[in-house]
């Protein structure tokens, strides 16, 4: 904060100050807040949006001005996070009133794109008031709630720059929009039944009902009858059906070709804190309860209650449920009508970004949904529902999406050149970095899908234009086969490839800017390309961003079948057995071909991937040879281990080639195959053994590679049982254990890590 030299005091002295407020001050009702405060203190002057910052001139008695400066931050609207970055004394302009000036699209770059927020209590009250003109209106919103990121097409955040531009305000709405004392003053998406978006119900591509209220009624009737309805929401369409109707849920699985992957369930609010409905389905900790009620209403994974009244196929074989509360007025109305939980899964062919337009739904999902509930407010860009999970006492994100993205984090070092990081192959996100700011996009999808690349291109373009920060360099994963690696090479910009696990480790380190000394980071996931061209995934990196060194790993093993290994746990199990000269009998038809390929090294790669060791264990314990989604096998294994104490089998650590410490997984095989013990005991024992590796390696490495903290990163650490076991077993270690807090530990965090790693290296080269 810059401040002008102190002038002689005097309560009645007239004073004028030019004020600049930065931070989250857009799309959160900040200008009306400034206006109301200024008017309340009898000040004159003006307030204006200037590309992300709010500028104001306040003029009046010195005491009133000082009070204003204090209150403008202290009493800021709940969704805002202002920073008073300038308050310079200036010459009084002597105006007679306080006015709100038109936004100025200047060249300032301190832009914050606001996120989508669930409907607020004030709007809910109006929506449920039969006397209100927005009674039961599914698009009600105000300065404190409603869509933002998904409807903003350009900055500054003004109605003309949103997808609401095509809905001219009616007289009544205009009065509210222009009245500084109204809570809808400059609520950009403001709308009412007379002038705003409406609903349309369609079957087989034909509009059946074009009015909002009957369309809602038809949707509710269809859902009650067991139909699957595609419902257009905030960041895309959902496929919705009755979560208690087993036949409906199974039909949805069949049509979506999604046999096992759990569906998220939208649960009506009930009880004092709104969570009674959720509590009937899952065990809700205080932390999870807080997370569920956050303004963006994320999906939270929680332990399923035995007596949960839900169709069995909502989350087959799994001990956790993904539940969330309704966040848009439309979802509230639908749940009110149904009075029970609804499956609400992203409407998309598997792995693709969520679909956002009626045309896409007709083209791509005509055979999946029985009916569609459309609305006519365009979605500027998709945002899937965000997913959180409580892991060892901390609620962490597993997927960034609607309402919690774009996520903004600070970089430890400022960048010379704006960078766009393109993430990994799975769970892709992009991160735009400029100065010391990094903005992470919502979840995009699996990059193998054509539409993922389209959305990645669109999101990349729009982030650069929204923030006024065109990229000067592209960052991609070092793996030459990744879709984004190839795409990056065709863009005509300099490309810096970053190793997958360097990105994982750097993402984690950047979440702890105050960390002192080196990191010892366990990078456990599926596979990523390493410095030596082999596939890493069960390693320990030592150092800090810009300077990582691999110091330990699991004993490498050879996998056949390329990418197929991720969906075929038997390949991992076979690889471990074959490597130690054991037989493996649980191969599918044609398994002898794979065995011969393994012997001869045909399309066979060496890896250390811990994720594949989990796959192997799941196959050996449960006998599951194939899964329908990545990480399904470890999730089943985690569920099996629930409530059972595990016996750790010590895994020997030796000094392997080139000075790397090597952990041998071979002693795991006997206990995993021990039929005298139950599946649950074997699963629990396996988790214990893997967890014990962390403290054992940390102790073994401590002398040669001193570190200030131990990090856990990579998709394997989405496993709550594993992390809890590690924490229990790490008691007594001198360095604290660090996990992700703001960025997913899975590959969704890679784009952010790429930026951190690049920034650190760029700084290293300068100094």
């Amino acid at each position: 904060m810059r401040s002008s030299p102190q002038a002689p005091s005097g309560a009645h002295r007239l004073l004028a100050r030019r004020v600049v407020l930065t931070g989250h001050v857009q799309g959160v009702g900040f200008r009306p807040h400034v206006y109301r405060l200024a008017v309340a203190r009898g000040l004159t002057g003006w307030v204006q949006n200037r590309m992300g910052a709010v500028h104001a001139l306040v003029e009046g008695p010195e005491e009133a001005v000082s009070r204003f400066l204090r209150e403008v931050v202290e009493q800021a609207p709940p969704l805002s996070d202002p920073h008073l970055s300038e308050a310079v004394e200036t010459a009084p302009e002597g105006g007679g009133s306080f006015t709100i000036l038109e936004s100025d699209a200047g060249s300032d770059v301190s832009i914050f794109v606001p996120a989508d927020t669930s409907v607020c209590p004030d709007c809910l009250r109006e929506m449920r008031d039969p006397g209100d003109r927005r009674y039961r209106y599914p698009f009600i919103n105000c300065t404190q709630c409603g869509p933002r990121y998904t409807l903003i097409e350009a900055m500054p955040y003004d109605r003309a720059n949103t997808t609401m531009a095509g809905f001219p305000l009616c007289e009544a709405c205009r009065r509210e929009y222009e009245d500084p004392s109204n809570r809808r003053f400059h609520a950009e998406p403001v709308a009412c039944p007379d002038c705003g978006p409406s609903l349309r119900f369609a079957r087989q591509g034909k509009t059946v009902i074009a009015q909002t209220e009957p369309a809602l009624a038809a949707t509710a009737a269809a859902l009650k009858a067991g139909d699957i309805v595609a419902v257009r929401g905030i960041g895309g369409y959902h496929l919705v059906c009755d979560a208690r109707n087993e036949a409906s849920v199974q039909r949805l699985r069949q049509r979506k070709h999604r046999p096992d992957k759990p569906f998220a369930v939208l649960v009506p609010e009930a009880g004092v804190d709104g969570l009674d409905g959720v509590r009937a389905l899952a065990r809700v900790s205080a932390r999870a309860a807080r997370a569920l009620s956050m303004p963006h209403r994320p999906i939270v994974l929680m332990p399923r209650r035995e007596d949960a009244e839900l169709a069995a196929s909502v989350a087959p074989g799994l001990g956790v449920l993904g539940l969330f509360l309704p966040y848009s007025p439309l979802h509230v109305l639908l749940l009110d009508a149904i009075g029970g939980p609804l499956v609400a899964t992203s409407a998309n062919p598997s792995g693709e970004p969520v679909l956002t337009t009626p045309a896409e739904i007709e083209e791509r999902l005509s055979g999946v949904a029985d009916a569609v509930l459309h609305h006519d407010r365009p979605i500027a860009r998709p945002a899937d529902d965000p997913v959180l999970r409580e892991i060892a006492g901390t609620v962490v994100p597993l997927r960034l999406g609607r309402g919690n993205a774009p996520v903004e984090l600070s970089l430890p070092f400022a960048l010379e050149k704006n960078a766009l990081a393109l993430g990994a192959q799975m769970k892709a996100t992009v991160t735009l970095a400029f100065g010391n700011r990094a903005v992470i996009s919502p979840h995009i999808g699996e990059m193998e899908a054509a539409r993922s690349l389209q959305v990645l291109e669109d999101v990349s373009r729009s982030l650069q234009s929204l923030y006024g920060a065109p990229a000067g360099v592209l960052l991609c994963d070092a793996h030459p086969g990744y879709t984004t690696h190839r795409w990056a090479r065709n863009q005509g910009l300099p490309v810096v490839p970053i190793l997958h696990h360097h990105a994982h480790a750097s993402a984690l380190a950047a979440e702890y800017p105050d960390a002192v000394g080196n990191w010892l980071v366990f990078t456990w996931d599926g596979v990523g390309m390493g410095t030596d061209g082999t596939l890493w995934g069960g390693d320990v990196l030592w150092g800090r961003p810009g300077n990582w060194r691999r110091v330990a790993r699991f004993r490498p093993f050879r996998l056949t079948g390329g990418d197929r290994a991720g969906r075929e746990p038997w390949r991992s199990a076979a690889a471990l057995c074959w490597a130690v000269g054991r037989d493996f009998h649980n191969t599918p038809d044609g398994g002898e071909i794979a065995r011969r390929a393994w012997d001869k090294g045909i399309n066979t790669q060496e890896t250390t991937a811990a994720g594949r060791i989990f796959d192997a264990a799941a196959c050996l314990v449960i006998g599951r040879t194939h899964v329908s989604f990545e990480a399904q096998a470890p999730m089943l294994l985690e569920t099996l281990s629930e409530g059972i104490e595990g016996q750790a089998t010590p895994l020997p650590i030796s000094c392997g080639e080139s000075g790397l410490l090597e952990v041998d997984w071979a002693p795991l095989l006997d206990p995993l195959n021990d039929r005298r013990r139950s599946e649950g005991e074997r699963a629990a024992g396996f988790h214990a053994s893997m967890a014990q590796v962390v403290p054992d390696l940390a102790r073994a490495l401590a002398r040669q590679f001193p570190f200030g903290q131990i990090g856990l990163t990579g998709g394997v650490f989405q496993n709550a049982r594993l992390v809890r076991e590690i924490l229990n077993r790490a008691v007594g270690l001198e360095a604290p254990l660090r996990m992700h807090r703001h960025v997913p530990c899975n590959d969704a965090g890679i784009s952010f890590g790429q930026v951190v790693e690049y920034a650190a290296r760029a700084r290293g080269e300068d100094g």
Partner: protein, 338 residues
């Protein structure tokens, strides 16, 4: 076997008597025709047409013999197929043989006989040739190179720049047989079962389409398979190509091996298939023409060209309705799943 030695020695390449015998007893005997004169420095060719088509290709396949063919038949089919898909009738071939010291003469003879048979069946004559012997360790047993001459016989123009948005893509038969057959033979998998190379002349297929108006372009999907042909077309035309997975014919045995080894059949080489791009209203007729031929029963419409959406790409509409990017072939694809 008329040669004194049972194995090729450097003497068979020194220009003397041994070489003379090798050419006479092995090459001339199996390849003789009215144009070939092993004593002449050059031959005169009479070519019945205006547009002379000319192509060349080298063959280094391992192993030299595999189920369904050998490097000999491949040396004929590879080059004549390139002429055929360009709209020509192949007429003459030249042959260069690079033989490694120590190769069994019996093997060489089988291969040359195979080559002669394939030439006769395809209706081409070997009109010129040369042999060289390489010191042991400096060759893969036998390398062959053939150059082909033919005359253009297609009634219209065949070229990539004839392709328009809306055109459709056809394939004449199951893909991947050659790639898998050769790989299994090379690695000595000893699989019982019957995956044989599809190596054959595609001339009957390309000739059959001469009666079909609206054929834009043909190509034989050899190295890099179907996807590489599609990428070439996408790059040259700026169009996007969507292939329809369920429509692409692949033999179950090939699918099984691909599943087990982690290969994608769309990238595997064929040596006897044709990919054609035709106008949408010509597809049915082209398909009928192919299906009427022996071995054309699995011909299928497999994809379509669309105006550019986001840059020339090749996409696969999967069995489950997803739309997957088919990247250009990489030398040694590494797994990508994290």
């Amino acid at each position: 076997m008329k040669l004194e030695d049972s194995h090729i020695s450097l003497a068979h390449g020194n220009g003397g008597r041994f070489m003379r015998e090798l050419i006479d007893e092995v090459f001339a005997r199996h390849l003789s025709n009215d144009t070939l004169d092993t004593n002449a420095d050059s031959v005169a060719l009479s070519l019945p047409g205006e547009r002379i088509m000319f192509t060349t290709d080298g063959f280094t396949v391992q192993p030299l013999e595999f189920p369904g063919g050998s490097i000999g038949s491949l040396a004929v089919h590879g080059t004549t197929n390139d002429l055929a898909v360009a709209g020509a009738d192949p007429l003459f071939l030249s042959l260069n043989a690079f033989i490694e010291e120590g190769v069994e003469v019996a093997l060489l003879e089988r291969i040359v006989a195979d080559l002669g048979r394939a030439a006769t069946e395809t209706g081409v004559r070997v009109a010129a040739g040369d042999t060289k012997v390489l010191p042991r360790g400096q060759g893969g047993g036998i390398y062959l190179a053939t150059t082909g001459i033919g005359v253009y016989r297609h009634p219209g123009v065949l070229a990539m720049n004839e392709i328009r948005a809306g055109d459709v893509m056809l394939v004449s038969g199951p893909i991947g047989d050659h790639g898998i057959a050769v790989m299994l033979a090379r690695e000595q998998f000893g699989l019982r079962g019957d995956i044989r190379s599809d190596a054959a002349s595609v001339l009957p297929l390309t000739r059959a389409l001469r009666a079909v108006p609206g054929v834009r372009f043909m190509r034989d999907p050899t190295r890099g398979g179907l996807v590489s042909v599609a990428h070439e077309i996408a790059r040259a035309t700026g169009l996007e190509i969507t292939l329809d997975e369920p429509s692409i014919p692949v033999r179950p045995a090939v699918t099984t091996v691909c599943d087990m080894l982690g290969y994608d059949p769309f990238y595997l080489a064929c040596e006897g298939r044709v990919v054609a791009v035709v106008a949408p209203d010509a597809a049915a007729e082209a398909l009928r023409a192919w299906k009427a031929l022996p071995g054309g029963g699995d011909a299928s419409v497999i994809g379509e060209m669309r105006a550019l959406v986001h840059g020339g790409r090749v996409l696969l509409k999967t069995e489950l309705g997803g739309l997957r990017i088919l990247e250009e072939l990489e030398d040694d694809p590494l797994p990508r799943i994290c």
